[in-house]
């Protein structure tokens, strides 16, 4: 993710990537694809030098709605947990706001899926 051409292009983060970004990369119980997707999203948002386009609706509506629904469905009622969840949601948005770019040149979402698949293939070939 460090070539000169990639620094000039943007990647559009849709809600699926925002969800992957919130998930775990280490948990052994997760499927390989889930860990790869989470790792890709985390590297993309936090470590890459790509410019990120983050739609307002994804950050302010779709992801918070999905997260809140998940919290309610799992009957998280403990006050300490609820406070932590609320702050996680806030922090999630802070990360994305700090990395977003105003650039309008967009890398389509299909290319993002292709790159995610490449990361997974790389991981498999490393083990071979």
């Amino acid at each position: 993710m460090r070539s000169a051409s990639q620094n000039e292009t943007c990647i559009l983060l849709d809600t699926n990537i925002l969800v992957d970004f919130a998930l775990d990369v280490i948990q052994e119980q997760l499927r390989e694809e889930e860990r790869a997707a989470a790792d890709f999203a985390r590297k993309l948002v936090l470590l890459s030098e790509c410019k990120l386009l983050v739609p307002e609706i994804s950050v302010n509506v779709e992801f918070p709605r999905a997260f809140s629904r998940a919290v309610l469905e799992h009957h998280v009622t403990n006050e300490d947990k609820l406070r932590a969840c609320l702050n996680m949601l806030r922090i999630h948005r802070v990360h994305l706001e700090s990395c977003r770019s105003r650039d309008r040149k967009v890398l389509g979402s299909q290319r993002v899926e292709d790159r995610s698949r490449l990361v997974l293939q790389d991981r498999k070939s490393e083990r071979i």
Partner: protein, 227 residues
């Protein structure tokens, strides 16, 4: 950074019900602890090298601070090492014991200090815990002689000069950061240096704590399910 033995869930469950009291106690006692370490550092500097360095580190802009530290490292490298290593030990081992006494939990590794601080941040929303965790992360990542820049960062932190504190700490840990620091000197672009440190921290520590809790509470499974 490897996942430490006590999981985030175990830590959270142990602290549940006493978070507010702990947040107040930990913040109060840790500020005093770090102030004590910083004061001792300045006194040692004055005793060893005269008050030029002591005064320079207390005032001055970021570029001046770097110039002073560079001079210290070049001119007094050998004599400085014992002092810097002792301070690093105090800010890791002694701080760990201090926190253990407050939370009434055995913290087996320094990584658990970072996870504890991040958890207090997640619960309280008080960024002070996050800022301290990030500075300690940089200190943990740095090696002598670079550690002295991280220690100087604590001085800036105590005075509320956060961007400068992070720029110093980022410089100290630059060889170990996962996010590449920017080109140029830290005093030319402190915001970007600070950002490199923060993002590396979140990648290695912060996101692991949050994501582990999200997974253990079952929220991760529900997030993945389509509506």
């Amino acid at each position: 950074m490897k996942r430490s033995a006590v999981t985030a869930l175990e830590l959270f469950n142990e602290l549940s019900g006493r978070f507010e009291k702990l947040e107040e106690e930990v913040k109060g006692s840790t500020i005093k602890f770090i102030e004590g370490v910083w004061e001792d550092f300045l006194k040692e500097l004055e005793a060893a090298f005269g008050d030029t360095f002591e005064l320079g580190l207390e005032g001055g802009n970021l570029q001046e601070t770097f110039a002073l530290l560079d001079k210290l490292v070049v001119q007094y490298r050998g004599r400085l090492e014992a002092l810097v290593e002792e301070l690093k030990r105090r800010l890791s081992e002694e701080l760990l014991k201090e926190l253990e006494s407050k939370v009434k939990l055995a913290l087996e590794a320094f990584e658990q200090v970072l996870r504890l601080l991040h958890m207090l941040y997640l619960h309280s929303g008080d960024e002070w815990f996050l800022y301290l965790a990030i500075l300690l992360y940089a200190l943990y990542k740095s090696r002598y002689p670079n550690s002295i820049y991280a220690i100087a960062g604590f001085g800036k932190f105590l005075r509320g000069e956060l961007e400068e504190a992070f720029a110093l700490a980022a410089y100290a840990a630059r060889e170990g950061l996962l996010r590449r620091p920017p080109a140029g000197k830290p005093w030319e672009n402190p915001k970007e240096w600070a950002k490199a440190l923060e993002l590396s921290y979140h990648y290695e520590v912060g996101m692991n704590v949050a994501a582990e809790l999200v997974h253990e509470w079952g929220i991760a499974d529900a997030l993945r399910e389509p509506e």
